[in-house]
């Protein structure tokens, strides 16, 4: 069988990956890990373009704007930082009271947000900034939302048209916030445990959430209705929707602290492909030696990348058979 190109392994991190993200065109792949590094790679050949140096702790999140001009990272060193994508220069440092868990650009790139953890007596907070103001060197947030004590945001993305923020919480709640008023518009209690990631589909009409309760669920962005549920035997750390085929890719595995007690075979460290509509598992890809922390689809849908607890990123391109597969029901 003639297959596609071989997978590329990116070894830029010494500790486990926390998030990977493609830019709009998919030619750049951004990755952050627990070893305070933020890397950017060319996705077509795995060449490292550069690193964003400056963080002093685990980097939890990374995002890039529509035009691939700015990069935003959030770290456990109690800061979120804005970088120039092309040069790796740090433009702004936002000091925060606690570590930054999630961050992101709005679709237009005009607004940025980041959320902080609820530790050391501080509540979990959502910060919004106007990017224009920030580049003019005012680090005043445009808006701050305080969450009730004991509630923490663990995953978040901007909703369509820059109007809403979708947040996943440590108790499994998913909320949609109005960015203007700072109020919760819709709330969903479908997951039972910690939400690990939220990723929108290409046109932002639906998103897939990955939870520790070993399921991933497809939600309607507008109504926050659960459309589909994908069940696995272990917790799901990340899920992404294919922009090309009706597939969802799930990354997960046992918790890191349980890994040493089992063999890799038992650990189920495989990326799982599910059919978007039929909720059936249709395939698996092996390769990681530990749980898969983060997965991302190339915007073309012709390749995908996964980052694992083992510190490696694997970039896979699909072979021609993949595009011909039809689910027989």
């Amino acid at each position: 069988m003639r297959s596609g190109p071989r997978p590329i392994i990116l070894q830029g991190h010494e500790r486990s990956l926390t998030q990977i993200k493609y830019n709009k065109e998919g030619d750049l792949l951004f990755s952050v890990s627990k070893d305070k590094l933020a890397n950017v790679w060319f996705s077509h050949n795995g060449e490292r373009l550069g690193t964003y140096d400056g963080h002093n702790g685990t980097v939890w999140c990374i995002d890039v704007d529509y035009a691939s001009k700015y990069v935003l990272t959030g770290s456990a060193d109690q800061s979120a930082r804005l970088w120039e994508c092309r040069t790796g220069k740090q433009l702004v440092k936002f000091a925060t009271p606690t570590s930054v868990r999630t961050c992101g650009f709005s679709y237009s790139g005009k607004t940025i947000f980041y959320t902080t953890d609820n530790v050391m007596g501080h509540p979990c907070r959502i910060f919004f900034h106007d990017l224009k103001d920030e580049l003019a060197q005012s680090t005043e947030p445009k808006k701050i939302i305080d969450l009730p004590a004991g509630n923490k945001i663990t995953a978040a993305v901007f909703g369509p048209l820059d109007k809403t923020l979708i947040t996943g919480h440590d108790d499994g709640t998913i909320n949609v916030w109005d960015v203007e008023t700072g109020k919760i518009i819709k709330s969903s209690q479908e997951h039972e445990k910690y939400i690990n990631s939220i990723q929108l589909n290409g046109d932002q009409t639906s998103f897939v959430s990955a939870s520790k309760d070993s399921t991933a669920k497809l939600f309607d962005t507008e109504t926050l209705e659960v459309l589909k549920t994908y069940k696995t035997p272990t917790n799901v750390n990340s899920a992404a929707i294919s922009p090309l085929r009706p597939h969802v890719v799930l990354g997960g595995g046992q918790e890191a602290r349980e890994v040493t007690t089992t063999s890799t075979r038992v650990g189920k460290f495989e990326v799982r492909f599910f059919h978007l509509i039929f909720e059936e598992e249709i395939g698996r890809v092996k390769g990681h030696f530990g749980p898969i922390n983060t997965v991302a689809f190339h915007p073309s849908g012709k390749s995908f990348a996964s980052g694992g607890e083992d510190g490696f990123i694997r970039v896979h391109a699909f072979d021609p058979d993949y595009y011909e597969f039809e689910f027989d029901y």
């Binding site: 490292r48 459309l227 598992e281 027989d328």
Partner: protein, 355 residues
């Protein structure tokens, strides 16, 4: 390409595209991965190279005094019509001092990608951070090419492993109604029993299929008996003392009929016994197609589509091994003369190549 990227500015219009030609090499049959990691990075012209260095024993000089400079330089032959290029290099072995000729064979294939102006411009960005001053192309320290992995997509999730998505039926329904509302389970109707589950999940699926199987089994049985009768005749006719090549020997060392059940003899023979040969396949047929074609007759253990060593094109025949001889016999009976992709298949027992 470089000239067009020069016109690309940061305010590139979307939809403006430019062509970039990349050359990729596909795996030759026996993949060597010597310099793959260094070659994947040539930015514009990819000449990804698979090679097997072959040491040519005929070309070993014993004169250690020979001037090193006298070694012939790098010699490139081709690429020929099939895109096969030979690179011949002579070098001196560090330990023995002997001259070694290394012939590397490359399969070149062209792949065109279309880039937006923004992407094309980013390809020329200078490296920064930890990569400041690094050469263009991937650094083998951070970027390596992994072994191939296969993603086999199947609608039968139970084949993926024991732990597959085995959600209890009632729970699934609860999820669909409780959460989805509009996406209630009523939308799903089984084709076999009209129940509210997918056809693949129907508990009566086996029943519906078994009627068909019974008839097929009857026919296979009669075929099997015919084969066994013939075998008995052949074995009886073997004369003692006559040399029998190992590939033709049965369990007791006597000649066995070609393709007869050779349980107890070598691995090779056992494999061949349940293997059929399908010829007159069309060029478009792929290995997975052959598997699909044969899977109704039993447990397919191995499929092998014979390909041209160099071009990778199908040679039009394939070997399929079944779990048992009965299944193989059934497949021969059914598939011989069967029309497949505008050609009529010819199916027979695989004959040992040493014949």
């Amino acid at each position: 390409m470089p000239e067009s990227t020069a016109t690309a500015s940061s305010s590139a219009k979307w939809g403006d595209v430019l062509d970039e030609e990349l050359e990729y090499a596909h795996d030759l049959p026996a993949p060597g991965s010597l310099s793959v990691s260094q070659s994947i990075g040539q930015q514009q012209q990819h000449q990804q190279q698979q090679q097997q260095p072959t040491i040519d024993a005929a070309y070993v000089s014993k004169y250690a005094d020979d001037d090193e400079d006298e070694l012939p330089g790098l010699q490139v032959v081709g690429p020929d019509a099939n895109g096969v290029k030979l690179v011949i290099e002579h070098r001196r072995d560090d330990n023995t001092g002997a001259v070694v000729k290394v012939t590397r064979k490359f399969q070149l294939s062209k792949q065109k990608t279309t880039l937006s102006h923004a992407e094309a411009e980013r390809r020329h960005w200078t490296k920064f951070g930890a990569e400041t001053g690094a050469k263009p192309g991937p650094d083998p320290a951070t970027t390596i090419v992994a072994d191939e992995v296969f993603l086999v997509l199947t609608a039968k999730s139970h084949e993926l492993g024991t732990d597959a998505t085995s959600a209890p039926q009632d729970e699934k329904i609860k999820l669909a109604t409780g959460a989805g509302g509009a996406v209630a389970s009523k939308a799903v109707s089984c084709r076999i029993c009209k129940g509210d589950h997918w056809t693949t999940h129907c508990p009566h699926k086996e029943l519906a299929a078994s009627q068909d199987d019974l008839e097929k089994e009857e026919r296979a049985k009669s075929l099997r008996e015919q084969v066994l009768d013939k075998d008995a005749a052949a074995t009886g006719g073997a004369q003692p003392g006559k040399y029998v090549p190992p590939s033709m020997r049965g369990a007791d060392g006597a000649r066995r009929a070609p393709g007869a059940d050779a349980r107890g003899s070598s691995m090779r023979d056992r494999d061949d016994a349940n293997t059929i040969r399908i010829s007159n396949l069309s060029d478009d047929t792929r290995e997975s197609d052959v598997g699909d074609l044969c899977s109704p007759f039993g447990r397919v253990q191995r499929t092998f589509l014979v390909r041209d060593k160099v071009t990778g094109a199908s040679k039009g025949f394939a070997f399929v091994s079944f779990g048992s001889r009965d299944e193989a016999a059934k497949a021969i009976e059914k598939l011989h003369g069967h029309g497949y992709d505008h050609l009529i298949l010819s199916v027979d027992w695989a004959k040992p190549s040493r014949d």
